[in-house]
């Protein structure tokens, strides 16, 4: 199992009156090559789960094995390497660095990985072509539309060729046509063998996934094929 999470808790203000259990004992396993949509109302804990799966946050309690590696035991440096090599993260708000142009944004994870400049250029080129943004390489984020920015963000996520792509409401800030285009890219990445985990509140988008996980109040209330998810 690529991702194996057992009994995951994320508790804010633990033991206090204002205690919030964003994740209240979540267990889930995801295999290589799956396309999983995580759905749920806002505040259900889906983003918290995604952040922990993406190693952007740490759980309060629980086990998380990523490709057999116990993530909860890793130090800051090792976590940085996991984020760099294993996971490509796509955010709702794109999170491109505004001062850098598209090319430089995509190049950044490769620099952190230590890829030599000659190979870096090829990989950046390839990633930008994959999302059909090669002709916008010199543009800054402010000079691009939302859809274009999200495509650059996807290019950045796939530049290091990570096995897992995680997308947190990738279409949330886009109009439906642009959103569909982004979704197509994710499906094509899936077709090429990537494992895709997608958060969405849009049932139409979730319905394109092979598997749907529904969260409510920090619990998983449905985990299975998309056919039964919306009944």
């Amino acid at each position: 199992m690529l991702i194996d999470v057992k009994n995951l808790f994320k508790i804010y203000n633990e033991g206090e009156e204002a205690e919030v259990r964003a994740l209240d004992g979540v267990s889930v396993g995801i295999d290589r090559g799956e396309f999983v949509a995580i759905i749920g109302a806002s505040g259900s804990g889906k983003s918290t789960l995604m952040n922990i799966l993406g190693c952007l946050d740490i759980p309060t309690y629980g086990d998380y094995h990523l490709d057999g590696l116990d993530v909860t035991e890793l130090n800051d440096r090792q976590l940085a390497h996991v984020r760099n090599k294993q996971i490509g993260f796509i955010f709702q708000g794109y999170n491109l660095i505004p001062a850098l142009n598209a090319w430089e944004n995509v190049e950044l994870p490769l620099i952190y990985q230590g890829v030599p400049a000659s190979r870096r250029a090829d990989q950046v080129e390839e990633a930008l072509e994959r999302v059909n943004m090669a002709d916008r390489a010199k543009h800054r984020p402010t000079e691009m539309s939302g859809g274009q920015q999200q495509r650059v963000a996807i290019a950045r996520a796939i530049a290091t060729r990570p096995p897992i792509i995680m997308a947190d409401e990738p279409t949330g800030a886009l109009d439906s046509k642009t959103g569909l285009h982004v979704l197509e890219i994710l499906h094509s990445l899936h077709a090429d063998g990537s494992t895709i985990i997608l958060i969405t509140h849009d049932n139409g988008i979730a319905a394109t996934a092979n598997r749907v996980v529904r969260l409510s109040d920090g619990h998983i209330i449905y985990d299975g094929a998309r056919e039964g998810a919306f009944q």
């Binding site: 800051d76 999170n95 990985q113």
Partner: protein
Amino acid sequence: MNLNQAFKIAAKSIAAKKGRSALTMLGVIIGLAAVIILVSYAQGQNAQMRAYYESLGTNIINIEASSWSGRDLTDDLYAYCMEMDDYVLGVSPKIEMWNDIVIKYGAKTLSNMTAERWEDTPQLAMGNHQFSLCSNYTIAKGRDISYLDVQKYNQVCVLGSHMAELIFNYANPIGQTITINNLPFEVIGVYEEQDPNFMTGKDNYIVVPYTMTRYLNSSTSWSSFVAKAKDGPSTTKAITLLNGFLKGLIGENGYYNVQTPNQWQEQGDEQIKLQQRFLGGIAAISLAVGGIGIMNIMLVTVTERTREIGIRKAIGAERKSIIAQFLIEACMICGIGGLLGILVGYIGTLIVGKLSFNMILLPSAGITVGAFLISVALGIGFGLYPAIKASGLQPVVALRAE
């Protein structure tokens, strides 16, 4: 990630954020230039005050020394002072003759018994070739008494400006011969006017080599001397050394006393001390102001930086890469800003020196280096502080910064 990469990322980041980088640099430039110019201004004032007190006759040491045996101390004292050339510029016997003086030139007669006003009264002084130096006199016309004049018993004299006027009525006195108590003396020089208001009666001097004393006056044992020290601190040091020397030379077998001639010395030293404290205060305040300016600009961008750090961490940057990037960024901005600040400070100082003091004023190296180090350290410290803090956060927390 190696250092080369960190440099590339930092350079890219600076170039990408031109406006903010320029603003930060401007903070460093203004802070540093302000410190340099303000401190230099105070130093210029200090120098001007020193010059003023020196013109009042500071750094002059009066020495009274006589041995009961009547031994001549002139050569011993001269030799000792020449050895102390780190502190002392010169020393001369200073004999002022107070008995009757009659000066004749052609039909003119001047005497200290008949003069009606103090400034018209001739005052006869005897010294060596360093007498003018030790009395703060400068030669306006002709030449000063030389070492040879002293050694060869030359009958030459130098006149104070008012004496020259009284005797020669604006005619050229150089090369003329006057008689002093019936002894002929050739006028070889005239002093510059010291005292246009006749307050201290310094322009009525007639100075002759001290070796002529025995022909003008019965006394042959010189007990009064005058020395000039390099500056205020040297004066104090020289007084101590001279006291020690005379104690060894004369001890109980005579009398000696070494002191500065007037209260200006002490007052001047006190003023300069106050001024230096003032200067230190100015340096501290302007450094604080400059530093706060630098701090302010650096801290304004914390939120922006925190988000950026969150993004960098999310895509796999290690903490040390982020810190290295921000350290290099801050070093480059503050280093360049610091160098420009020194340049502006130097130019500003030159302008201030020209306009306010009419002299070439240069900032002291200590202040320049100190202010540079402090402002660069502040810039780096406050540039690095958010980076260190934010890079320790979970990426999701840093990304939430608004």
